[in-house]
């Protein structure tokens, strides 16, 4: 059954080779073998240039210009107005006193979300990795169990939980059956916030579990054997051997999950739409709605907000680089 498929793939592979061989061979004759490397780099560099490096520069032009035009030539220069508007608050602790109150709500929501989601997720990932690292039967299967939700698309994840959490859903039916009053989970601000954290932990935990598990398995077993010979208790082994040796992996997991939590959007947007009110609106949703979903499209404000987010991400990435370097140096 696979045979026609295989030969089709091979035919495609050969055709592609023939298609590019002539231009690439001519290029080689033209520029010489020493500079042919640039021909190989060219497609990637064009894409990076057009969609990564150029946009970084353009982002500053957007952030310093006004109006709802997308073309830069039609946008008047406004200096730091966009930043000033985002940052103007009489009391920074109270979003209601800010000119862009939704932005500040999103900032505070994102802050809480990052702390709680990352904290609990790393905790549960560690617990799961420790358990999967024990000598249990069907280990591969159980590893797959915890990893499975990672592959599901964010929209599917959100819809699965929306179906469970709806007012007449299975969770409320279960609570009803044991005599607890049902709750309208997604229209109550505090519960909605709890559930966006829960669902994003559910969806991403398996990925970090996997990395931690790889870290645990890299710890040489003779260290444990030596500890066992010395009659060390299990807690002592955990605190004195496992944790210190797992620390580099933990730092990587922590920083990776922080970077992704700051940019959380997909599941939450589909699950709660940022509501009730703006109780679960995070910073990326604010950027999306300001720049693209609402009219007029305030590109300048969205760009300014994304530059502020980029600063946070830059700090986190530098932390990651330091962490990976210290891990590499052992």
């Amino acid at each position: 059954m696979l045979k026609p498929f295989n030969s089709a793939v091979q035919l495609g592979y050969r055709t592609a080779f023939g298609l590019f061989e002539w231009p690439m061979a001519s290029a080689q004759r033209l520029v010489g073998i020493r500079r042919i490397a640039w021909m190989f780099l060219l497609p990637n560099l064009i894409i990076f240039g057009a969609f990564t490096f150029l946009p970084i520069i353009l982002n500053f032009f957007y952030a310093t210009s006004g109006s709802d035009a997308i073309l830069l030539s039609q946008r008047p220069y406004v200096g730091a107005d966009n930043f000033a508007s985002l940052l103007s608050c009489t009391n920074y602790l109270d979003p209601n006193t800010c000119r862009r109150d939704v932005f500040w709500r999103a900032v505070y929501n994102t802050g809480w979300f990052v702390v709680l989601q990352v904290g609990f997720m790393v905790l549960f990932s560690l617990l799961t990795a420790l358990i999967l690292n024990r000598k249990i039967p069907f280990r591969g299967f159980f590893r797959g169990v915890f990893f499975y939700p990672v592959l599901l698309s964010p929209v599917v994840v959100a819809l699965i939980w929306k179906w469970i959490l709806q007012r007449y859903g299975v969770l409320n039916a279960g609570l009803d059956a044991v005599g607890v009053t049902p709750v309208d989970w997604l229209t109550n601000a505090n519960w909605a916030f709890f559930w966006i954290i829960f669902v994003s932990i559910w969806a991403h935990m398996g990925f970090y579990t996997l990395i931690l598990l790889a870290g645990l398995q890299a710890i040489p077993s003779d260290v444990y054997e030596a500890a066992e010979m010395d009659g060390a208790s299990r807690w002592r082994v955990f605190y004195r051997i496992t944790m210190p040796l797992l620390m580099p992996t933990m730092v990587v997991v922590l920083v990776l999950s922080l970077i992704r939590a700051v940019q959380a959007f997909d599941e939450i947007f589909v699950l709660t739409g940022g509501g009730p009110g703006s109780a679960t609106t995070l910073i990326l949703q604010y950027i999306y709605e300001t720049g693209f979903a609402s009219r007029p499209q305030l590109f300048g404000l969205a760009a300014a907000a994304s530059i502020l987010m980029a600063v946070v991400l830059l700090v986190l990435t530098l932390l990651q680089l330091r962490a990976t370097r210290s891990q590499a140096e052992g």
Binding site: L41, T52, Y62, I136, F142, L152, Y168, V270, S306, A310
Partner: protein, 348 residues
């Protein structure tokens, strides 16, 4: 025998408290991770009436009916739970106030009055396939599916070719500026597209790509992750092989396409898995650049339907299932490769 396998412990004889906790946690994990998906799967086969039921039934059930001679329509069957006809199974003709007029299917001429609180509907296991078939008839499901497949396949092919070309150049040539280019590419790891949404939209808009699949494909085909992954792997391919081919007057393109690419297959497989996962699940960027519904990917269509009050849960649940089935099959087949790839490279 099964029990002795499960209760195997680490060198110790007793099945102690930590083993109980471990198994408790693992079983809780199965329920928590698979349960929600299973619940959606079961629900997706229910009729709209059964979906609206509260508390919900576990299996998809529907009311059992029977055709009784003398009545045009099939009548719903009830089991009588009280009164003088307790235990009998009767068909209901109509409800009159607090009483139901019923008939025994075996004796159609005799009408029986039963209090409505004394009867329970008889139900049977019934799978509502039409939840799925309506997707193809009414929702244009194939269109969204095709859009998603097109973006995933084309983007993955381009990603593999572009990234492996760059990786080949960085791994197998010594040229001025190599380190700079490599660092530049790695630096883009620090610049997630989410912080450049507005200007990337401008570029895509200027190129006239908005509302075409290419608006989703092009911006993300050059991934620093892919270049890095492939370069590290290609460094392990011995240069002698390449030089031998050059001696036979092979062009550089031939060296790359015929020797390096096939040898880098394991790393390419990892990149293919990642790329398929990224593209199939991508949401925010398509949401921004695809605004016409005929261009929607599956993810966008799902999102649009859930926001549309006209859509019933039955269609939405069936569509959710159809969206997660391809990924589930890939996962079941390639679980080991996927987890190994992620554990090695630490990316997702």
């Amino acid at each position: 025998m099964v029990w002795s396998f499960i209760s195997r412990t680490r060198g110790r004889n007793r099945f102690d408290i930590t083993d109980w906790l471990t198994w408790g946690y693992l079983i809780f994990g199965i329920v928590l991770m698979f349960g929600p998906v299973l619940w959606v799967a079961l629900s997706s086969f229910k009729t709209d009436a059964a979906l609206a039921e509260y508390p919900p039934t576990f299996l998809p059930l529907s009311a059992q009916t029977v055709t009784v001679p003398g009545y045009d329509k099939p009548l719903p069957l009830y089991e009588v739970t009280g009164g003088e006809h307790k235990g009998e199974v009767l068909a209901q003709i109509r409800r009159i106030g607090l009483n139901a007029q019923m008939v025994d299917p075996a004796h159609p001429d005799q009408k029986i009055n039963v209090n409505i609180n004394d009867r329970q509907p008889k139900r049977q296991f019934a799978v509502q396939w039409s939840n799925y078939t309506q997707l193809f008839k009414r929702f244009n499901f194939m269109r969204y599916f095709w859009n998603s497949v097109f973006i995933t396949v084309v983007a993955t092919i381009i990603t593999v070719i572009f990234n492996s070309m760059a990786a080949f150049a960085l791994a197998k040539y010594k040229f001025k500026g190599r380190t700079v280019v490599f660092l530049l590419i790695i630096a883009t790891l620090m610049i997630p597209p989410t912080i450049n949404l507005v200007p990337i939209y401008l570029v895509v808009n200027e190129l006239g790509l908005v509302n075409t699949p290419w608006a989703v494909i092009w911006p993300a085909v050059a991934t620093p992750t892919g270049v890095f992954l492939l370069r590290q792997y290609m460094l392990t391919i011995p240069d002698d092989l390449l030089d031998a081919a050059r001696m036979d007057h092979a062009s550089e393109w031939r060296v790359y396409w015929r020797i390096v690419l096939p040898l880098a297959a394991p790393a390419i497989a990892v990149l293919v898995i990642f790329s398929v996962m990224w593209r199939w699940n991508e949401f925010l960027w398509p949401l921004i650049v695809l605004t016409r519904s005929e261009q929607f990917t599956l993810q966008l269509a799902l999102n649009a339907f859930q926001g549309d009050l006209q859509t019933s849960w039955s269609g939405l649940l069936a569509m959710t299932m159809l969206t997660l089935i391809p990924i589930t099959i890939i996962f079941a087949l390639l679980q080991k490769n996927i987890t190994a790839g992620i554990a090695q490279s630490g990316v997702k």
